[in-house]
Subunit: 247 residues, 2 copies
């Protein structure tokens, strides 16, 4: 199972900028093999501008005269289409196919084939496909930009690998004992500074718990909150001393 | 719960082409409210070329001098960031947040805020956010094009609405009785044309069933297969008659 056996095939792309954007999307999502079929003269400056750091993917591209040749050795050929109709009746969404296709990529060469910006894939090219993908979009404007369509397919495959981990709070959630110590300090502090008085204290503390329990508090969050309470107590003490000092 | 209460805020976008691509991505996924904060001089021709049919979204944009003003009335402010570090520790993926944020959009104005192409959001802008989104990408090249990042967020929200249905095979799956009639016809035909003989027939038919049972056969698929069998039987009959005719 690996993205390295999945190639992105662009049939007759019209705009260099889109080809560059495809390179960047591929590299963002861990793909590297780009195959062009009969590319029209593209704008090379625009291509390089849009590819940014992914230009090596373009420089290492392969080119073939037909889609049939570009996918000749592939066991799995995935076509993408916004259009409905003949040959497209078995379309599933990018997300539905991502898992099975990733699975198949372990033992098979896989091609994702995208048609030109203005017309999509021809029927004879759709006929080569073992899988048809539809990308969800509204009826109001169903046609995605070429590079956006490539991005969504690559993104779904990359997410399906399960290899991405979002940033984790390194400190970890504070343990209950630490949280309770912090709430005791705040209770004492809010009484000390005169924000509340004893009869209402429990009610207020429920409110404060609700505010501070929306998501897990990390150990460092709790330390910040204890620091605030400690400092406010210090101020309250100084204020009392000032009041009691004979003027 | 509605995409209409979710606005896309672009802070200080640099390139008109990207703003145009954002408009198209928004319209593809059912969004219409674009807010620009301090846009730099963009390339208007490039913007219109990339927006295609989504240019009304640009024409109806709002502009504000700061992100704080652009999101002032929003209960939910979602920031996007590729960078890790201070203030970003609670990031979740676009997919993890999509459901909860869509839910919240029923009773709240929601803003998705994207920073400029070269630098992302500033810390004071991240501080305004109630939610932080990370878009999965590889360490090799973590930074997505601005319009690609907007697309993935809009795509995840649109998919979360559950309103998209892929093309369905209208004919429906063939009922078992029709499938079995087709397989009987093929058995007879394969014997008739001399492809197999009776002792091996059951074994062969198992192979054929395996080939034709990878996915559901529709009623019209079964009709095509019966038509082929019928025509092959006709040919076999003609061939037998020709052989038996005295020459």
């Amino acid at each position: 199972m690996g993205l390295e056996s999945i190639r992105i095939v662009l049939a007759r792309p019209l705009y260099g900028g889109n080809v560059g954007s495809v390179c960047r999307a591929m590299m963002n999502m861990g793909f590297s093999r780009l195959v062009l079929v009969e590319p029209r003269a593209g704008n090379d400056a625009e291509l390089r501008k849009m590819a940014m750091h992914a230009i090596p993917i373009y420089d290492q591209r392969e080119e073939y005269p037909t889609v049939a040749e570009a996918v000749a050795d592939c066991g799995v050929v995935v076509g993408t289409t916004a259009r409905m109709g003949l040959y497209r009746a078995h379309a599933r969404t990018a997300r539905e196919w991502a898992g099975p296709i990733l699975e198949a990529s372990g033992a098979n060469q896989v091609a994702f084939v995208f048609g030109p910006e203005d017309r999509g894939l021809r029927n004879d090219e759709i006929a080569l496909c073992t899988h048809i993908i539809q990308i969800p979009s509204t009826d109001a404007y169903a046609s995605l930009n070429l590079a956006q369509a490539v991005m969504i397919c690559c993104y779904e495959l990359y997410v399906a690998t399960g290899s991405f981990e979002p940033v984790e709070e390194k400190a970890g959630a504070a343990a209950s004992e630490q949280r309770e110590r912090m709430f005791r300090m705040w209770r004492e502090t809010l009484l000390d500074i005169g924000f509340m008085e004893e009869p209402k204290a429990d009610h207020m503390m429920h409110g404060l718990r609700r505010i501070l329990s929306r998501d897990l508090l990390s150990s460092s969050d709790v330390k910040i909150l204890m620091g605030i309470a400690r400092q406010a107590q210090w101020c309250a003490k100084k204020a009392r001393e000032a009041q009691n000092r004979p003027s």
